[in-house]
Symmetry: C2
Subunit: 331 residues, 2 copies
């Protein structure tokens, strides 16, 4: 974000606010916060995420149902990253003059369809006028029963890094929208557009991974690997080494003049999971991982040397991976 | 809100979404939602509220610390209305270009001061650019231990209505701001401005009232008595009769050309509590009510005849109380 650095502000807030209360298990700085009732077997996991017109979507490019879907999906993805089962959410909707009631209804319909699929209930919200543009803020609450959630921290040098699904698809879908190709003429175009407009949060996968007890730490990829992986490293007190040739890129995006590798490294909004697994557990993980879930791919490893380095292929020397901020809808 | 009716949308959402899950105690339609862990003694109470620039505040009239204070206060007030103790909150902040880091820090400082006073912890949030104007969305989580929260429903015909504090102060403070008298030259002016810019949520009062077990139902006054009282009546399945001469108005506002009675009926953002008490319990309530808490005042009663009626004084006949929407910052 131009003008300020989200990570810097998060650190400022951690310093100013972070305290542990009797029921607060984990506060600012992870995908979600964790609170717990005294004596309860559940941890409640709380996350919040905004979707803002002209920053995160354009009305010309998204149907109201797609806006509703995506705003909830971003929140469910944070819960998935903690290995929490989504349970409840609230919606705050700020609407400019001229929004028709049927836009609102269709937006809620998109949300409701995704909510039903994941068994999550809308429990409240707020409505307001907006002087310009639509803003949707969702807070989602999930739970883990009988075990702690997975955090970004906990990774150790030597752990193997995995991601779910393919990387760079959502960004390549955004590129299609920018090129005025919103209709989706091929299967690959439609897949990219779906990934951008109605991403599927990896709730089931996150739950399976958390329950497997084979995963040391996990987060979701919302800002892109080159921004998110350093966050996981910082939380775990490690560095990381990536192999570009291992990344599960989306090669079809070449057809609309994208660089699949650059999008896999820097594209945001994939809402895939990034996780670290002890090297001795990788075989067990790969053998027991259900084929019904989106594929997981090894992409590198954590190391003790700070910083994230990568090589485009197995022979090239490692070089620092510079964050190339994903600039959402403003170019 | 111009163009749509919040209550209508809430009813639409109740119809579309409201279901009871195993842990959901109360969903859409009250000041906050209530969820509960299996076996836990606590109920968690969840609420969410937005503060939007040019709708809810103007930067020329509010310091950043006041904006931070007020955004949290509105949420804590919802928890107070449920008789819940505030525990945690998340903050989503959308900021336009040109906001200085020190504005953000000061805004969080205002929030932190109020948070400390009520022992509530910031546990997470989201930051984003905004194409225009500041939007703050807070979700607050409270708890009640060993008892259920208080709802808007549960009032019965014959119950006596009370409010805390004075009504119309926040609206009279807004009128001062509109008249360019933001400095506050007299004690009364400063009190009105404080009520508008840094309202004090009635958390302690709400907790005391809930624990007294003398109160049948409660809500906070955010949109004004003429809008909020019909909501309590609808939830309780009753009507109500108000006596204008009993209302705890703020007479000093006459000095800046306000009508104290009109503001008490229709002014919003007072964040006082409205509650109903069985007639046979009023004496016990008034005797045991601590003098350290803001005064409570009888203002009328619930009745079986639907609708809210009022009389300006004891001798005049009852007439319907028409909602005169409090139009926030747009005139």
């Amino acid at each position: 974000m131009a003008g300020f650095d989200e990570d810097r502000i998060v650190r400022l807030l951690e310093a100013r606010f972070a305290k542990t209360g009797s029921s607060l298990v984990r506060g600012i700085g992870d995908d979600a916060a964790v609170v717990r009732s005294r004596g309860a077997r559940e941890h409640w996991v709380v996350t919040t995420d905004m979707l803002i017109e002209e920053i995160d979507f354009r009305r010309a490019w998204f149907s109201p149902a797609q806006v509703g879907h995506k705003s909830l999906a971003a929140n469910l993805s944070d819960l998935a990253a903690m290995g929490a089962r989504p349970r409840f959410f609230t919606v705050s909707l700020a609407l400019p003059e001229g929004i028709l009631p049927r836009w609102i209804t269709a937006c809620y319909r998109g949300m409701a369809a995704l909510a039903r699929r994941h068994g999550v209930l809308l429990i409240g919200g707020d409505l307001s006028r907006s002087p310009s543009g639509i803003q949707i803020t969702i807070t989602a609450i999930g739970e883990t029963v009988g075990r702690r959630p997975l955090y970004r921290s906990g990774g150790r040098p030597g752990d193997i890094l995995y991601v779910t699904g393919k990387l760079g698809m959502a960004a390549s879908g955004l590129e299609l929208l920018r090129q005025g190709r919103a209709a989706g003429n091929t299967r690959a175009e439609r897949a990219a557009l779906r990934s951008q407009r109605t991403p599927l949060p990896r709730c089931e996968t996150g739950l399976w991974l958390a329950r497997s007890r084979l995963v040391r730490c996990m987060m979701d990829l919302s800002d892109g690997l080159s921004i998110d992986l350093p966050r996981l490293c910082r939380a775990s007190g490690t560095g990381a080494e990536l192999s570009g040739s291992l990344l599960p890129v989306f090669p079809d995006s070449r057809r609309w003049h994208c660089d699949p590798l650059a999008l896999a490294l820097h594209g945001g909004e994939d809402f895939e999971l990034l996780l670290a697994v002890p090297a001795r557990q990788t075989e067990r993980l790969e053998k027991s991982y259900p084929s019904s879930l989106p594929r997981i791919t090894r992409i590198g490893r954590l190391c003790s040397r700070p910083g994230v380095r990568w090589s485009p292929d197995a022979t090239a020397p490692l070089r620092p991976l510079k964050p190339a901020g994903f600039d959402h809808f403003r170019k």
